[in-house]
Symmetry: C2
Subunit: 247 residues, 2 copies
Amino acid sequence: MNFQIHTDHSKCGDCPIRHRAVCAHCDQDELEALEEIKYYRSFEAGQTIIWSGDQMSFVGSMVSGIASLTQTMEDGRTQMVGLLLPSDFVGRPGRDFAPYDVVATTDIVMCCFRKKPFEDLMARTPHIAQRLLQMTLDELDAAREWMLVLGRKTAREKIASLLSIIARRDASLTKGGMSGPMVFDLPLTREAMADYLGLTLETVSRQISALKRDGVILLEGKRHVTIPDMGRLMEEAGDDTDGGFLV
Amino acid sequence: MNFQIHTDHSKCGDCPIRHRAVCAHCDQDELEALEEIKYYRSFEAGQTIIWSGDQMSFVGSMVSGIASLTQTMEDGRTQMVGLLLPSDFVGRPGRDFAPYDVVATTDIVMCCFRKKPFEDLMARTPHIAQRLLQMTLDELDAAREWMLVLGRKTAREKIASLLSIIARRDASLTKGGMSGPMVFDLPLTREAMADYLGLTLETVSRQISALKRDGVILLEGKRHVTIPDMGRLMEEAGDDTDGGFLV
DNA sequence: CGAGCACTTGATCGCTTTCAATAGCTGTGG
DNA sequence: CCACAGCTATTGAAAGCGATCAAGTGCTCG
């Protein structure tokens, strides 16, 4: 934790997620209105940010770090239903209770708004509502793509799909394109990967070992991954490699 | 097909989905603007309404019947990612190409708008954008609930979950509450159920037989279902029966 | 040095799939 | 009227994949 912000009025102009977050389309006036009501909060890795069923008093944007949305059944089976990355929006205007647990996977910083003032501002700021609709539609597409992974893919394909998503996202955040080898650190434990993929952590571990043995990925330590051939990985994921409609 | 509408200016005031569709919050002026540009289309059971990858020239609301959203892998594995019921919105303002196949499961009627005029109207009609945001957030919740079903539930629990969802929806469309036995017709073939649940049709058939044998459901013919005890079914689905947060 | 945690690997079990045969229903045509 | 094709659904037997149970490794931190 070497990057904590606690001031209430850091400049939105300098914000690293400025161009992708819910405020992306706002003009100067609208940003100033947001700046009036925003505040930053930090959470440590492992902390639960919101409990399922709790009243949601705030909404906000992920500034840095990674969080997960999870559902848990009475007997303990859990399914991750979303991965929250920088610029993603947390919370739901118009609903009072949280439907899922939100857990910090790494240390995170959020840009928060108390729910009511944000709802009021949204009602008179179409730019925010429009951007939120776009982001929600994107999340819906992502959730549906994940349904195919959960419902129809094999364990090996599931792992390859997850690695491919993480690699692509990483490429879009950093400068790198998708040609040549891709290198990144896994932001998730084996157990978290299992919860995302609907597998056990043992199966995750075995399939990662298998992909490594087959040369699809290279591992340094447990978390540092190199993908020598992205096309190969996408074949392993069962994805269309030449189709052009990927997001 | 004894109920086909082809006139372009049927009254929105008489529309059966008026209070739940994307136009739900519109006032009289806004409805008139919608009436200007709307038109009805019918499709027969089995027809593909939109092909994945195709240009989407229109959006619209389901008026009657049932359609499904499906994704297919190159080798033929398919996963249903959504079930479209009366009042549900089809299509995505702001995106040009369809990400999924949309297939009519029964004969259906849709209230359509050409995409561009609808987008223009939406840009100057906050009531429509707000309602669409609400509906999209609801769909996102439904998709995430389904991720738990796909990722973590057993075949038996999956069938029970599907029956419980269909039963609940049916109760909300007809007058009936959820006390006492519930009766409805399955709108899906065994294969469609399998595609929704990430199972094979044989497993679907076996588990339905098992639930029938155990008295959880009663079957007349292949499609007509009676649920004597909804609480029992929800236990079988692995859902919280006493928790109060269900939609 | 030992406790705790994340991860790996092995052996076995069992659920779901796969392959295959059959039943029931509908519509068609001789 | 019956034979037959085509479709949906059921049921059985066998195989396979991932889960479960169980050790053991390597690392960090006190």
